[in-house]
Amino acid sequence: MAIIKVKDNNPAAAIRELLRTMLEKQLVSAILVPQEIPSKKTVVQTLVSDPDKLDAVNPLAPIFSINSARIVVKMCIDQMTGPVSGQAVSEQPAEEKEAEPPEAEDSASEQKQEQAPEQEQGKSGEQAPAEAQSAAEDEPAAAEGQSAPAPIAVVLRPCEIRALIELVKLQQASLDPFLVIGVDCWGTYSVQDYAAMVTQGPQDSSVTADFLKQVTAGNFPEELRGACRACQYPVPTYADLAIQLIGDDISQQIRIEAQSEKGKEIFNALGFEVTAESKERKSAVEKLKEAKKQLAEQDKADFLEMISSLCINCHNCRAVCPICYCKQCVFDGKVFEYPLEKYLNWSGKKGVLPVPPDKLLFHLTRMSHVATSCVACGQCEAACPSGIPLGRIFQRISTAAQEALGYEAGRSLDDDLPLTTFRENELSAVED
C-alpha cells in the first residue's frame, strides 16, 4: 500500500504517470488501457508500448464501450492452444482491430512495436542513458529467453476483471502474460450519453472530472447505466495491483496496493513508500454498495413481456457478452430452422403464433448458459437496439442462481465453476 499524490485535482493524470513510469522502467512490456480519442467523445482500448503515447490515457472516464475481458481473451488465443502457427498468425489482426488506437499514425507505430518489442526497448533506452547501454548491448532475443518477459499490464474495471476470472476458469484466457491493474469504479454512462455530455458540457471542464466530483459527494447521476446503478462490485475482487480511489480525497491522493506476488515485484521496483491502509475505505465501500442497492430496488421489469414484445432476435446481446464464448452457437445452426408446415402447425394449435418463434427460447437458453458466470456488466443491455433492460434482468436472475449454488461470479480463481462440481448433501428442496 502506498499513496500517490494527485496534482491539479486530476487523479487520471496520476494514474497516467504511474503507467508511464512502469513502461519507462520496463517493468511491463505494454499496457492495455483506455485512451480518449482527440474529439474526447469516447475512449478506446489501446495497447501502448511507447511511454510517449500515453498522453490521452483516462481509465477513470465514466464510459464502458466494451468489456475488455473479451479483448484479453483475443490476446490469449495462442496461450491457450499452444504454439500452433496457423492460430498465432490469425490472432494478430484480431488484436489490432480490437485495440483501435485513436490515430492512424499510432496504429502504424504500435503495430511495428508489437512485432518488434526489442526495438521498443532500445528506443526507451535512449531516453534513459544508463539503461541504454545494457539494452543496446544485450542480444534482445537471448535476454528474453533467459528471464520471463515483462508482463503486459491490463487496466481493467472490477466487472471486467470478474469476467476475466470467469473466462480463465472457463479455459478461455490465461493470466500468465498479464499484470492485472484494477481500478475502483463508481459506474459508467452509455456510449451515447457520454458523447452527448462531452458535446453539451462546458469547455473548461471534463465529463470525467464532473462525474468524479458528483459520485465522491454521494450523488449518482440519472444517466448512470442500468447495470452500474445496481452494481455491488465497485472494488476489484482480484488484481495484481489495485488502484484505490474510494474512501480517499481523490483530488489530493490515490492509493496503490499490491495484491499478489507478481504485483509486489512491480510495486517494490517502483520504489513507493509503504503506508497504512486507508481507515475510511471499508466504510466508504459499504456505503457505496448500500446506496447502489437502494437504486436497484427502484427497478422492476417484466421480462417475459419485454422479450416477447421488444426483442427483434438480432443476437447483439450474445455478441457483446464476455461470458458467451462458444465458437459456434446452437442458435446459428440448423436446429432452429423450421419447415413452413411446422409454423402452420404451431399457429394452428393456439390460433396465433408470434414470429420469429424462438425469441424467448434464445434468451432463456443464453441465460441458462451464462447465469452462473454472469458478472452483470450490462453490455447486453447497451447492445440491445430495442432497449430491453437485459443487464438488470440478467443481474437479478444470475444473482439468484449464483446465490442458490453458493457461488459468486468472479469472486476468486479458486472456487470451482458451480456446474462442474457438487456436494452430496445439498439442494434437497429441489426434489419434492
Binding site: D302, F303, L304, E305, I307, S308, S309, V330, W346, K349, K350, G351, V352, L353, P354, P357, D358, L360, L361, L364, T365, M367, S368, A371, T372, I393, R396, I397, A400, A401, A404, L405, P418, L419, T420, F422, R423, E424, E426, L427, V430, E431, D432
Partner: protein, 145 residues
C-alpha cells in the same frame, strides 16, 4: 385461448426419464398394471445429467404444459455423479423460471428408482394434478390476448 376456459383441456407433460432408474421404474409401473394419469409423454435419456436445460425450455416453448425430469436417487447414479450435477443445473433453471415469469411448478424434478413403480405412478398423478391446477401454458407467448 386463455387459461381455464376450456373444459376439454388436459395437460400435456413431457417426461425426461433416465435409462437406468426412472425409465425402468415407469416400466415396472406398466408391467404391474398400475393406473396413472395418461398425460405424460416419456423421452428416455441416458442420464438425468444428460438433460440440457435447453430441452426443458424447448419442450415448454413447443407447447408442453409441464415437464417432469426424473433420474436415479442421489448416490445411485449409474454414472456415479450425473444426478448430482443435474440437481445443480435444475436448481439454477428453477431459479430463473420464477424470475422470468414462468411458473416454476411447470418443471418438476424427482428421483425414482427402478424398483419404485408405485412411486412413479403416484408421481405422475401428482404432477398431472399440479399442472391441471396451474392451467395451460401461455408459452409460446402471444402478445395479444
Amino acid at each position: 385461448m386463455t387459461e381455464g376456459n376450456n373444459k376439454d383441456w388436459s395437460p400435456r407433460i413431457v417426461a425426461f426419464l433416465c435409462n437406468w432408474c426412472s425409465y425402468a421404474g415407469a416400466d415396472l409401473a406398466g408391467v404391474s398394471r398400475m393406473q396413472y394419469a395418461p398425460n405424460i409423454r416419456i423421452i428416455r435419456v441416458p442420464c438425468s445429467g444428460r438433460i440440457n436445460p435447453l430441452y426443458i425450455l424447448s419442450a415448454l416453448r413447443q407447447g408442453a404444459d409441464g415437464v417432469l425430469v426424473s433420474g436415479c436417487h442421489p448416490g445411485d447414479c449409474h454414472y456415479i455423479s450425473g444426478n448430482y450435477v443435474a440437481r445443480r443445473k435444475f436448481n439454477m433453471l428453477k431459479k430463473f423460471l420464477e424470475h422470468v415469469g414462468i411458473c416454476p411448478e411447470r418443471v418438476q424434478f424427482s428421483w425414482v428408482s427402478a424398483a419404485e413403480g408405485a412411486r412413479f405412478a403416484a408421481l405422475v398423478d401428482k404432477v398431472a394434478e399440479d399442472i391441471k391446477r396451474i392451467g395451460p401454458a401461455k408459452i409460446p407467448m402471444v402478445p395479444v390476448k
